[in-house]
């Protein structure tokens, strides 16, 4: 048992920090508001990610034959921690390199690979994830968006998606649509966002400038080779790729930074009294627990073990920690939250609001823990 980072992992983290120090200007927090969904960060990512690519830091976790460095999942996780803590300057390109790209590598046709992978590894391609629908959130298999065979070949897509992050910034939608009557008769499509018939509307939210969208598909023509993998296997593809990614974003990295910033603000005013110390420490303890649970999952992944219920434990713990952090922010820093003057504090607080919803709700994680960890009966 050893909880220390290796020298290689430490130097990798330093490598990332050096690049961030060099590439992010002093006014980054003010301009970005640490909001990966903002136009500013999205635009920035199209310059920043090519720089990361040149530095070998965009896809270091990809296999060498695909342009990566073949670094282990701990290095990948460190990259995520550093990026998330500073406001994700990759914008939604983090999805491109974490799971959309790997899905294309695994299931894509030669043409899809040739066309899309160079743009992903070059740091110029933003994906959005067309999964959730108004009637299909946690119950994704209830989706209604249809892709029907057209007489002229290919598919015609009709339906709508919602909560789609970064849709108005994205180049391509990684879309799930129903291609048959069965509950899981779903296929994955790669659809350019400038395809006629796609209408994108921003859903205003305090989560972020362009965190949420509605995306409407009206007679959208998708060629046969827009399908990723086999027709009807979209569900399996997404489950396989997301299971491989496992925990998702290291949310605690920004939450911990927000708590540190909050403590600094209070100390500067002489307001870091014992009640504040107690709340801050309790939130931080939960963040450390979440971090260790996440890292135990990464350790399993690094050792080639299959996904287990531990992933849900880690994800649920991230949510629980975020709740305690929100309690601390709201009780002791409420004026600062209202005034919205500190972008890091504001971003950390904003993120706590969505942590039980994004990427699988807290309730779905608890269902999975009950089923896979506690082995409780379903009946």
């Amino acid at each position: 048992m050893n909880f220390d980072w290796t020298p290689s992992q430490n130097s990798f983290r330093q490598r990332i920090r050096d690049v961030l120090d060099r590439e992010l200007q002093d006014d980054w927090p003010q301009k970005s508001r640490l909001d990966p969904s903002s136009e500013y960060v999205s635009r920035f990512s199209r310059e920043f990610c090519p720089t990361l690519a040149r530095e070998g830091l965009l896809i270091p976790h990809w296999p060498q034959q695909d342009g990566g460095e073949g670094l282990d999942p701990f290095h990948h996780w460190i990259l995520g921690e550093e990026m998330f803590a500073i406001g994700e300057p990759r914008s939604y390109q983090y999805m491109s390199v974490n799971w959309a790209g790997p899905a294309i590598r695994k299931y894509g046709t030669p043409r899809q690979k040739a066309e899309l992978l160079p743009r992903i590894t070059g740091g110029t391609m933003i994906f959005c994830q067309g999964f959730s629908e108004p009637g299909a959130g946690s119950d994704l298999a209830a989706m209604k968006t249809k892709a029907e065979r057209s007489e002229s070949g290919g598919f015609v897509i009709n339906g709508s998606k919602i909560w789609t992050s970064g849709a108005s910034l994205a180049d391509v939608c990684f879309l799930l649509a129903r291609t048959g009557q069965g509950r899981k008769d779903i296929s994955a499509f790669l659809v350019p966002m400038d395809t006629p018939g796609i209408d994108v509307r921003i859903v205003a939210s305090f989560n972020g400038e362009r965190s949420f969208h509605e995306v409407f598909f009206t007679d959208v023509q998708a060629p046969e080779d827009a399908v990723l993998g086999e027709v009807g296997r979209g569900w399996d593809i997404v489950m396989s790729v997301l299971a491989d990614e496992r925990v998702g974003a290291p949310r605690y990295a920004l939450t911990m930074r927000g708590i540190d910033i909050g403590v600094g603000i209070l100390a500067g005013r002489g307001q870091f009294d014992e009640p504040a110390q107690i709340r801050a420490a309790q939130a931080m303890a939960a963040c450390h627990a979440a971090q260790l649970l996440c890292l135990s999952v990464i350790d399993d992944r690094a050792k080639g073990r299959p996904p287990s219920g531990s992933t849900s434990v880690a994800r649920y713990c991230l949510n629980a920690a975020d709740r305690l952090a929100a309690d601390f922010f709201e009780e002791f820093l409420s004026d600062d939250l209202v005034l919205n003057e500190n972008p890091v504090l504001a971003a950390a607080y904003r993120r706590t609001a969505s942590s039980g919803i994004a990427s699988g709700t807290a309730e779905m994680q608890m269902n999975a823990i009950a089923r896979d960890v506690l082995r409780l009966p379903r009946e």
């Binding site: 048992m1 050893n2 909880f3 220390d4 980072w5 290796t6 992992q9 701990f74 540190d260 403590v263 600094g264 209070l266 100390a267 500067g268 002489g270 307001q271 870091f272 009294d273 014992e274 110390q277 107690i278 709340r279 801050a280 420490a281 309790q282 931080m284 303890a285 939960a286 450390h288 627990a289 979440a290 260790l292 649970l293 890292l295 135990s296 350790d299 399993d300 050792k303 531990s310 434990v313 649920y316 713990c317 629980a320 309730e363 994680q365 608890m366 269902n367 823990i369 009950a370 960890v373 506690l374 082995r375 409780l376 009966p377 379903r378 009946e379």
Partner: protein
Amino acid sequence: MDFDLTEDQALIASAVRQIVARHLADPTSADFVLNAPVVERELTENGFLGATSEMGLGPVEGLLIAEEVGRLPFAIEAATSGILGRAILDAHPVRRPLAVALAPADGPIRYLQGGGAAVIITDDDVRLLQVEEQDVERVPAVFAYPFGRFRRLNVDKAVVLEGVAPESAKQWWRVVIAAEIGVAGRAALEATVEFVKQRRQFNRAIGSFQAVQHRLAHVATLVQGIEWLTRRAATSGAAADAALAATMAQQSAGLIHADCTQFHGAYGTTLDCPLHFWAYRLRALRGELKGLSHQSVEAARSLWPDAVAKQSRAVRPA
């Protein structure tokens, strides 16, 4: 970073688990505290208990042993001697059970009994006392641990542990608290999961109701979080890690106790139900070393020393 036990650690845990497994069956006599001299002797003879170890075991191994021993309903002191003892007592000969208390040590103390030993933490030093029968009286308590109280305590008669700072002793005490809450929480959870699989109401196992499942899932998350924080604290020997582990543990102990008892219904409050051996330990541990607020403040001091110092200066009268 490696979350797996080393080969030696795994062997130790496995050996203790085998001994424990032979005694895991429900106790036949219901009492608030169960002693098990046979089990204790077997563990001692195999070198798994105590503050000094011929096998060279340290606090991490002490924790792993305590994780296994704590699954038993019996009150066997393994954590204080195995973790705190091995961390600070060095070569001092120490009897078991080992108790720990803050001076003046005038309240009930877990595992304080004649024939054992006690670590007394004063403001200035840390002392070790061999406890004699006439020094203590038994305190009847419902908390599944044996408690004793000093009839008279002459701190001056205790041996001062040179080179051991009070803060160091408190740090390792925090690891002990977290370890004991983690293992009692794990045992309470496992007992509750088994119970809700068997107990049927409305023609179905109550463990199939989502309301029950979600709360036990939450408990499972708390227990796993405590376990990893404790393992890290025992491994790193860092003050902040110990304070964070104890904070998380004492913060969670009440909820773990409440939900595990709740799902047993009235049965869970009886001595017929073995749950109380772990659930009531959780209650006892909530107040140890001045309780959650104290550990939280200590964690804040470790994490943000400058901010806490600045605050102290700000409130100090001119």
